[in-house]
């Protein structure tokens, strides 16, 4: 399935939920925010939020230094 991930075209091996995408990418869900088609997805709903085909997904890491 094709999505746009952080601005780059990406092909996923199968349709996924947000949680499955993070597991697929080996990203700790506590360390990022996920935006799917310009809506920030609540962490509590990652497991039941499917990523639609052609979705624009942004995974935004915590950056806190100054």
């Amino acid at each position: 399935m094709r999505i746009v991930l952080n601005g780059e075209e990406t092909t996923l091996p199968r349709p996924m939920t947000v949680q499955e995408l993070l597991e697929h990418l080996e990203i700790d869900p506590r360390l990022v925010a996920v935006e799917c088609n310009r809506v920030v997805v609540r962490r509590a709903t990652y497991a039941e939020t499917p990523i639609p085909p052609d979705a624009e997904v942004e995974i935004v890491a915590f950056v806190g230094g100054g």
């Binding site: 506590r30 360390l31 915590f62 950056v63 806190g64 100054g66």
Partner: protein, 368 residues
């Protein structure tokens, strides 16, 4: 274009500039953190003609700051950051009024500080302060020009502007303790804060003068390694805990831990540790700095376990008595102590780190 037309163009610009300059001159800006971001922002805003800069920082200038905190000179090492910054800003721009606050942003002072200014620059180095600044800006109603850096990445946004989102619309809660290193621990490309700070200053000048389209409702992501800049749409979240329709945060409260302000019961003063060592109070002493820092000199008898490995390795090393962890200044060791205590280990962080130990002149810390 004829000469008359050119003249009209110049006078139009002049008029705009005069109005903008007057607005800047009347403005008060709060800078939270006089570090890698606060340095370039303060210098840019001072030379741009902002009337008053209120600089907040509780730390002193350290040699390791100079590679990115460009407001300080070698001769400033050991001085309070706000004192050194004020002197430099006055030398650069004698017309600027610099107010200094030589303390940390806390639940107690945040609201009054934010209320006293037109705009806030978030250049903090820890998430607890960032959430405090965000919440105070939302509750008081002041725009927050957010900038952050880590390694090769930067982020910029304008939060808490009318109708726009806040930091909690993106990240409702801070990350778990100890998993995201700050600049002192995780490192940052030294020139990166200069870029991000300059972008913050641009947004501040736009907001103060009413020029252009501020970075509201968008988050700018700067990837220095690949030299890519993206901005993503960040709408306000109606369910945001602080700026949403039914907020659950209606007054300031501490969120997470302030990395430089560990709770008292989790720390041990250098004098007390020295007494333990002289009188044989059993404890396990762990240095959580990086191997290169350890090689330059450590407290005698300390065992090296860098912070990233501390949680997994220290529990296997615990002997009789508490664990005492230390680092350079007490920030990393406070995190280590917090993480170890979560795992049921009686861990204390040496307040002020090896720097305080050396300042106190206690035995057993000769530099290599």
């Amino acid at each position: 274009m004829n000469v008359a037309g050119l003249s009209d163009l110049h006078s139009a610009f002049d008029r705009t500039d005069r109005d903008a300059a007057e607005r800047l001159r009347r403005s008060r800006v709060l800078l939270v953190g006089m570090g890698g971001l606060g340095s370039p922002v303060a210098m840019s805003l001072a030379t741009a003609g902002v009337g008053t800069l209120v600089c907040v920082d509780f730390d002193r200038v350290d040699l390791s700051n100079l590679q990115r905190q460009v407001i300080f000179r070698d001769a400033d090492i050991g001085r309070w950051k706000v004192d050194a910054a004020r002197d430099r800003l006055r030398a650069m721009a004698p017309g600027v009024n610099v107010e200094i606050v030589r303390e940390a942003m806390t639940v107690k002072n945040a609201e009054a500080l934010v209320r006293s200014v037109d705009l806030v620059i978030d250049g903090a180095d820890n998430f607890a302060t960032r959430y405090l600044v965000n919440d105070a800006c939302v509750l008081v109603g002041r725009p927050n020009v957010f900038g952050s850096v880590a390694r090769f990445d930067g982020q910029v946004a304008v939060f808490a502007a009318p109708g726009g989102p806040c930091y909690r619309c993106l990240h409702p809660e801070p990350p778990p303790e100890g998993l995201i290193p700050n600049c002192a621990e995780g490192g940052v490309l030294g020139v990166l804060p200069g870029v991000v700070g300059a972008l913050q200053a641009v947004e501040a000048v736009k907001l103060l003068t009413g020029m252009g389209e501020p970075l509201v409702g968008r988050l700018l992501l700067y990837d220095a390694l690949r030299m890519r800049i993206r901005d993503i749409v960040l709408p306000r979240d109606p369910e945001c805990p602080v700026c949403g329709e039914a907020p659950t945060i209606t007054e300031l409260a501490a969120t997470g831990s302030f990395c430089a302000m560990p709770a008292d019961e989790m720390t041990i003063e250098a004098a007390e540790l020295d007494a333990w060592r002289r009188t044989g109070v059993p404890h396990t002493l762990i240095d959580v700095r990086e191997p290169s820092e350890f090689a330059e000199g450590a407290i005698d008898g300390a065992r090296l376990v860098p912070l990233p490995r501390a949680v997994t390795e220290v529990p296997r090393m615990v002997g009789e008595g508490p664990v005492v962890v230390y680092c350079r200044s007490g920030m990393r060791s406070a995190r280590a102590a917090a993480m170890l205590r979560e795992r049921g280990i009686d861990a204390r962080s040496l307040a002020g780190g090896i720097e305080a130990w050396r300042r106190g002149g206690y035995a057993g810390s000769e530099s290599a």
